[in-house]
């Protein structure tokens, strides 16, 4: 996917160092979890924006875009980082439009429609250069808003637990996830349900989560992910965490999730995917070769065994789950079906920024 549009911009030495630091921290696992990555990425962008000398809309968007490109090339799997870049770019555009509206009182209406989005796209890009205001101050507010949204996102999703988990239901989940854990804990406050936890590739974390939940008084049964299909007929609901939701409603989740959703579909068990808004990505599955990244094979076979020297161990990091396997996405804004994702995306990002 070669980047289109503006030629790559030279970055400051200082900025470059910050990017390197961020990327190596993510790569080494010092920053983990998409929530943390999103917050740290936002912080990085904020720092870079506030240090920018000539903070016009054009200048800023070029800078942010370039940072985004670097980070995305180094971290193709971490889609939330790219999402944050898109959010900031969108904020720059909005701010710029607000400023030029004030100045010129242009014909652009207050409401957005699909038609307007399509028709106005080219025009908006063209006008990015005209205003010369310093956008840093208003952008800071925008970024603070996004940060508040990320921080409250998980809570908002968890708060919906009562509406979806009912008494005496048998819930199945896969692997460990902070968000799912929070969701299930919130559900426990109101209802009594039973939980089946299929251990993911991260066996230790899965067990840890099972332990914490059972301490709260939830009856938890840990099963191997090989036996998911066998128990699926008894399950009332499947709750999964996601790594990212793609345009069109497909989702990217921990390896093993696809097998689970296939089983759920076979038995017509509803699948609820928890995805705060920052995990929504405007990419399509075919856009990106980073999706089929391999993980360290030790999750499936220990290096100690002599077989590890002779066999291929393919340990994919993510599974791509098609949209028709998911019944409902729970975002900060409430439940939405996979076919509605496109609408959420158009609210969050500017179509010009889909490709960084």
């Amino acid at each position: 996917m070669p980047p289109l549009g503006s030629p790559s911009k030279e970055l400051d030495l200082k900025h470059e160092e910050k990017i390197v630091q961020f990327v190596s921290n993510v790569r080494n696992g010092k920053i983990d979890g998409s929530n943390n990555i999103a917050l740290k990425m936002l912080l990085l962008l904020e720092q870079i924006i506030s240090e920018c000398e000539n903070a016009t809309a054009l200048e800023l968007s070029g800078l942010v875009r370039e940072v985004g490109r670097r980070v995305c090339r180094a971290l193709p799997q971490e889609l939330v980082a790219a999402n944050m870049v898109r959010r900031v770019l969108r904020a720059i555009r909005d701010e710029h439009r607000a400023v030029s509206d004030q100045n010129g009182g242009s014909a652009e209406g207050a409401t957005e429609s699909l038609q307007r989005l399509v028709l106005a796209a080219a025009a908006r890009r063209g006008t990015l250069g005209s205003a010369q205001q310093d956008l840093r101050e208003p952008l800071r507010d925008h970024i603070a808003e996004v940060r508040a949204e990320i921080e409250s996102g998980c809570g908002a999703v968890a708060a919906m637990a009562t509406a979806h988990v009912h008494a005496a239901e048998l819930i199945l989940t896969h692997g460990s996830s902070r968000l799912v854990e929070r969701f299930l804990k919130a559900a426990r406050k109101h209802t009594h349900y039973r939980l089946l936890l299929a251990e993911g590739p991260d066996v230790k974390e899965s067990h840890g989560m099972a332990l914490r939940l059972s301490l709260l008084g939830i009856p938890v049964t840990v099963i191997s992910d090989a036996s998911i299909a066998a128990v699926m007929s008894r399950v009332n609901k499947v709750v999964i965490g996601v790594r990212a939701v793609l345009a069109g409603g497909a989702l990217l989740a921990r390896a093993g999730t696809h097998a689970l959703t296939i089983a759920a579909k076979h038995y017509s068990v509803p699948v609820i995917a928890l995805c705060p808004l920052y995990k929504l990505s405007p990419l399509h599955a075919c856009d990106h070769y980073g999706f089929n990244a391999l993980d360290n094979p030790r999750t499936s076979l220990s290096y100690e065994f002599s077989e590890s020297g002779d066999v291929h161990v393919e340990a994919p990091r993510y599974d791509l789950v098609p949209p028709d396997h998911v019944t409902l996405f729970l975002t900060n804004l409430g439940g939405s079906s996979p076919s509605y994702i496109y609408r959420l995306l158009s609210e969050l990002y500017d179509p010009n920024d889909h490709q960084l």
Partner: protein, 641 residues
């Protein structure tokens, strides 16, 4: 940001291996720049150190220092992650010939402030160094003498990585993890018996034995390590150090510990072509995560995953009809033509592979051109070489800038370009027979090619040079031979010049430490030396001379031959000398009699020894003098009864 100098973790990386396992590739360019799966070794090392929480690294180069400095400068400009978090100091010294010299230099310069990590540039690992060093500090708190903690990874004994290197045998206290015995075997050694000293078992409630360890050449050291090297100038390699410490634990007041890595940690060291091959594969298979083929490029995702662990650089071009079977890595701007079949290979940057070429298990570096219809198996081709049409290479090492003529057929050879006359020639080629023998022995087809080179270096293998530390090119048997010679020399001189026996004992002891000889061997060799003093070969009346010598060296003998086991050593030495030395032929009985008279040996040991002789049918049993002596002994004992 203020950095607390005291708490910064220091690492010392030795940039040379002091052996020629990788010659001629490493003769001109530094070993640190040897590319493993497309990335130079040094990048892996620096990245893993930075990941492992090391704050300051000292790179010690003995050869090619300027080249490494230049390379590091280049990489720093690229802003790699390690350049931001780690202080790097490059030291150069042309005089250092061994790892021991390096440590002495470090001690003299006072470079390390406290506990530090010592590793070779060939170690590839994703461990957390800071945590391990902290563990070592805890060990030191419990035991003030703890000098070094060796880092090992446990794997199955059939794993290729252990199969390709010298196996280690380790005996340790299970509770404290203190090493009690450390032994390295020769590759394909026929030794089937391991002798474990009894006191190891008696003195420790639980002893752990390990035979399936991967040595990554990483050690966690106390501040006392560099001074130990300075005090013991005969420590040349890390193995010398380990053995020296284990033998003289009381004298040096230090001891060794070991630690095993967790399941999810990877560690290995590139010591020869075979391990090179295994490690390349491991990196491509992502075992060493987060070290990967993208290390050293700031992860700019230059590689596309194509399934079956094939990776190609984004801007490489592949013909539609070429086949990548498995584990293939193709570098930037490389071109693979029609119908080429690639398996388990690494193709460098800007390479051009012609049509109908078959490449299997080979490592082709940058800017190499392989013309049509070539077949390359298990070979290593250094950068800027040209392989012309229809060549067949098998297990061949080709140095840089070599031009292989069309239709040449090379098997198990090393090809270098001679710079002098600019004409590319085949300068070194081993005999085909030897190579074929080797391939028959080798069980694993995969390795045959590079295995050859490995077997080639087998001779230096026994010299310990696989441990990337030693240069002393004296094989183990030579060591003992030299020791024997030295003992003979000092005894002969002592006898001629009538030196005091105390001095001679000192002399023998010092040579013993120099050659790292076990105590029982010393007993054996001293007696053997006594029976091989040059005067004996000249004199007519051998027996009377021996009697004189024996009398003169009485203090020396009584110093060594004290215990029952030493008496047996002595008798075995007599047996050995009598069988091997011409001048002693047929005089075994008399010599034993002399020993008996001099009260060096007692009756019981003699009888035991005689039994032993009879058991394995030594030719000595048949000798009339021996028979007579034992008859006499029997009678004498009966009489006294």
């Amino acid at each position: 940001m203020e950095i607390d100098k005291e708490n910064v973790v220091q690492a010392v990386v030795i940039m040379d291996t002091f052996n020629n396992n990788f010659s001629p590739i490493t003769t001109n360019s530094p070993f640190a720049l040897l590319s493993v799966a497309g990335v130079p070794l040094i990048d892996y090392v620096l990245e893993s150190l930075a990941l492992g929480g090391v704050g300051e690294t000292i790179l010690f180069c003995c050869e090619n220092g300027p080249k490494i400095k230049e390379y590091l400068k280049l990489k720093k400009e690229e802003k790699l992650p390690w350049s931001l978090t780690m202080d790097i100091q490059v030291l150069m010294s042309d005089t250092c010939q061994t790892m021991g010299d390096v440590m002495r230099e470090i001690d003299a310069a006072g470079l390390v402030r406290g506990y530090f990590i010592l590793m070779g540039v060939n170690s590839i690992s994703n461990i957390n160094y800071a945590v391990l060093l902290e563990q070592h500090k805890q060990t030191c708190k419990k035991d003030k003498g703890a000098a070094m903690t060796l880092v090992y990874k446990k794997v199955s004994w059939q794993h290729p990585i252990t199969r390709s290197d010298k196996p280690i045998f380790l005996a340790a206290d299970a509770n404290t993890r203190k090493i009690l015995m450390h032994k390295k075997y020769k590759a394909k050694s026929s030794d089937k018996i391991i002798n474990l000293p009894l006191d190891i078992v008696l003195n420790h409630s639980e002893v752990k034995l390990h035979h399936n360890l991967v040595d990554a050449n990483i050690a966690l050291c106390s501040p006392s390590v560099p001074p130990l090297f300075s005090d013991n100038f005969d420590f040349q390699t890390r193995d010398d150090f380990i053995h020296g410490i284990l033998i003289n634990e009381e004298i040096l007041a230090s001891c060794l510990y070991y630690t095993l890595l967790k399941r999810d940690e990877y560690t290995a060291a590139v010591t020869n072509w075979k391990t090179y091959q295994v490690i390349c594969r491991d990196i491509i298979h992502n075992w060493a995560h987060p070290l990967s083929i993208e290390t050293g490029t700031f992860y700019q995702n230059n590689f596309v995953f194509m399934g079956n662990h094939n990776f190609r650089s984004i801007n490489s071009t592949l013909s539609r009809s070429c086949t990548l079977t498995e584990d293939v890595l193709i570098g930037a701007n490389a071109h693979i033509s029609d119908n080429a079949i690639l398996t388990k290979s690494v193709i460098g940057k800007n390479c051009v592979i012609g049509s109908n070429v078959v490449i299997t298990g080979s490592y082709i570096m940058d800017n190499v051109t392989v013309k049509e219809n070539c077949k390359i198996f298990n070979s290593y081709i250094e950068h800027d070489s040209l392989i012309e049409e229809k060549s067949v290479l098998e297990g061949t090492i080709i140095a840089s800038n070599v031009n292989i003529k069309a239709e040449s057929n090379l098997k198990g050879s090393i090809v270098e370009s001679s710079v002098a006359d600019k004409e590319k020639t085949l300068s070194k080629s081993t005999s085909e027979n030897e190579w074929e023998n080797e391939s028959v022995n080798s069980e694993d087809d995969e390795f045959i090619g590079l295995d050859k080179e490995w077997s080639d270096s087998d001779s230096c293998y026994s010299t310990d040079s696989s441990e990337p530390t030693s240069l002393s090119d004296s094989p183990v048997p030579d060591d003992t031979n030299m020791f024997l010679q030295e003992v003979i020399d000092s005894l002969a001189r002592g006898y001629e010049e009538k030196l005091k026996c105390d001095y001679l004992i000192l002399e023998i002891n010092s040579s013993r430490y120099a050659y790292n000889i076990q105590l029982n061997e010393v007993n054996f060799f001293v007696v053997k030396a006594l029976l091989s003093i040059p005067i004996l070969t000249e004199t007519k009346s051998v027996l009377s001379t021996i009697k004189d010598i024996w009398k003169y060296f009485q203090p020396v003998i009584s110093n060594y031959i004290k215990t029952k086991s030493s008496i047996m050593d002595c008798l075995r030495a007599v047996e050995d000398s009598c069988l091997k030395s011409l001048w002693l032929e047929g005089k075994a009985g008399q010599i034993i009699h002399l020993l008996y008279d001099a009260d060096v040996v007692d009756e019981d040991s003699l009888l035991e020894w005689y039994k032993e002789l009879q058991e394995y049918k030594s030719p000595l049993v048949g000798q009339s003098s021996v028979v007579k002596f034992f008859e006499w002994l029997q009678e004498a004992s009966e009489e006294s009864d």
